[in-house]
């Protein structure tokens, strides 16, 4: 596993280290992205978990907001978890008026949609065919809730909620996003899926 493309992790705040460990184990060189110059060095980027309000402010002050939004629009493979999903979503409910939107994926996302920390939970998510129909361990921490997705969005995993199924891992073109934290478990399949997207550099990669 040599010669994989360099992947950046937005390192303004949040659980950067966990994403780094998984991507390095897969064989990627990992770059911490704190400035526009850092972003130029990478072929793909991960938006980690953290506080989306704090990361929003820091995206503006670091000058990263414009360049990052442009790269995503140009098709740079991007993977957001939890706060990363909130930043990528086209529409945010219960957010702040000045919250940054990177407009990466056609989804409506409610911040802290599962409630406060005492309702944070672990469960098994049901993977779609892209994940061989298998379940994956899923950790939700003050997690955002994906309320709806557009027609062009592929739902890759769901959990049961209120008698129905709620999407928790979604993909549109080169953007992958999850409301849970695959980086907090030993299961690497979400990052391997992203790695395959990075290596193909295209939208509809298949494993």
């Amino acid at each position: 596993m040599v010669g994989l493309r360099p992947v950046g992790i937005l390192a303004l705040q949040g659980d950067v280290r966990e994403h780094r460990a998984v991507l390095e184990a897969i064989g990627h060189e990992v770059v911490s992205v704190k400035t526009p110059l850092d972003l130029e060095k990478v072929s793909a980027v991960v938006l980690p978990g953290g506080e989306s309000t704090a990361i929003s402010l820091l995206l503006k002050s670091s000058g990263l907001l414009g360049p990052l939004r442009n790269r995503i629009a140009e098709g740079m493979p991007t993977f957001g978890t939890c706060a990363g999903l909130v930043l990528l979503a086209r529409s945010i409910l219960d957010g702040r008026a000045d919250q940054v939107q990177l407009d990466g994926i056609d989804a409506v996302v409610r911040r802290n949609g599962f409630g406060r920390q005492r309702f944070s939970f672990e469960t098994s998510a049901q993977g779609a065919s892209t994940l061989a129909g298998e379940t994956l361990p899923a950790v939700f921490i003050r997690a955002p809730l994906i309320e709806s997705v557009g027609d062009d969005v592929e739902v890759l995993a769901t959990i049961e909620r209120d008698g129905g199924n709620t999407p928790v891992l979604i993909r549109q073109g080169s953007v992958l996003a999850g409301s849970f934290h695959p980086e907090l478990t030993a299961d690497r399949r979400c990052h391997e899926l992203f790695s395959a997207m990075v290596e193909q550099g295209t939208a509809q990669s298949t494993l």
Binding site: E51, A54, R116, I141
Partner: protein, 298 residues
């Protein structure tokens, strides 16, 4: 908002320490009302600590310092979307039960309040809400982790605006970790005895080279440079108590400490954040203190 579902497990260690992981690289700010909480959120805080008086006022007023009024905590919860933390007295598990019932996101079993039990800290495994505890050295940190703490912060000397004690505590913890990494397997037993810490946790550190939970810094941080100092010394996030709302311009100080905490390795960025802030909180020389909060707890 309740989400009952039998296939979900709440209150696991992964979920509890996971929230601490999400706060890394950020600034947690003490606030005493909804207005301050909004200022903290606007400035980019990752969480707020809801309390009635900041530590410097507790120090000035004297008397017994207790858990905050639930009405105040609820007012702050309603004002911001950030995680809200609150303090319980050392050993006061009934205060902690109340904070859990209020739905706070993290409980700080804090030496800043007057201890309620001289021999026992709270059994933190009994709670679904995660706990942060202070420590002055590695042994103290590991005793708290053994009791169920999911996040450790240096104690520092709260309410002084003087970072010297926090630096001492961070350096002590990291130098003990270095000693463990270099020890051979048979030496770990004596190291555990000397630190009065569980051998299992000492062995874990020997293997991983780091504390089993995140390590944040608290106690005396007043400037962007203070934040950059403790983060370079190995802290993974900072708590700022009196340093923001006892400064001459809380909005500016809050924003500047957030910037410095993200770009702590970039001196030019910290210099930019430090420019033109006005007066930091006055501060106290720790040698002259009548009461040292860091000596509370064991």
């Amino acid at each position: 908002m309740t989400e009952p579902n039998s296939s979900r497990t709440t209150g696991t260690f992964t979920v509890k320490r996971g929230l601490a992981d999400m706060l890394r690289g950020g600034v947690i700010m003490d606030v005493v009302n909804a207005e301050q909480a909004r200022i903290a959120e606007d400035a980019g805080a990752v969480a707020v600590m809801a309390l009635e008086r900041v530590p410097s006022d507790i120090r000035r007023d004297g008397g017994v310092a207790r858990m905050s009024d639930p009405a105040l905590i609820e007012e702050i919860q309603a004002a911001v979307s950030l995680p809200v933390m609150a303090k319980a007295r050392i050993g006061h598990f009934a205060e902690a039960q109340i904070l859990q019932a209020l739905g706070v996101d993290y409980i700080d079993e804090s030496e800043v309040l007057t201890p309620a039990d001289e021999a026992h800290h709270i059994d933190k495994w009994a709670f679904e809400i995660p706990f942060v505890c202070g420590a002055t050295n590695l042994g103290e940190a590991l005793r708290r982790i053994a009791e169920g703490a999911c996040l450790i912060r240096s104690k520092g000397e709260a309410g002084t605006g003087n970072v010297v004690e926090a630096v001492r505590h961070l350096r002590s913890i990291s130098s003990s970790i270095r000693e463990i990494r270099q020890a051979d397997a048979s030496e770990l037993f004596t190291i555990a005895k000397n630190h009065q810490a569980p051998i299992g946790l000492i062995q874990e550190i020997a293997e991983t080279g780091k504390l089993p939970v995140p390590l944040f810094c608290a106690g005396g941080i007043s400037t962007p440079a203070d934040a950059a100092l403790v983060l370079q010394l190995g802290a993974e996030a900072v708590f700022v108590g009196s340093g923001i709302f006892k400064s001459s311009n809380p909005q500016l100080f809050a924003r500047a400490i957030v910037e410095a905490s993200t770009h702590f390795e970039d001196a030019a960025a910290v210099a930019k954040a430090s420019r033109g802030l006005g007066a930091a909180m006055a501060g106290l020389e720790t040698a002259t203190l009548e009461s040292r909060y860091a000596e509370r707890g064991w």
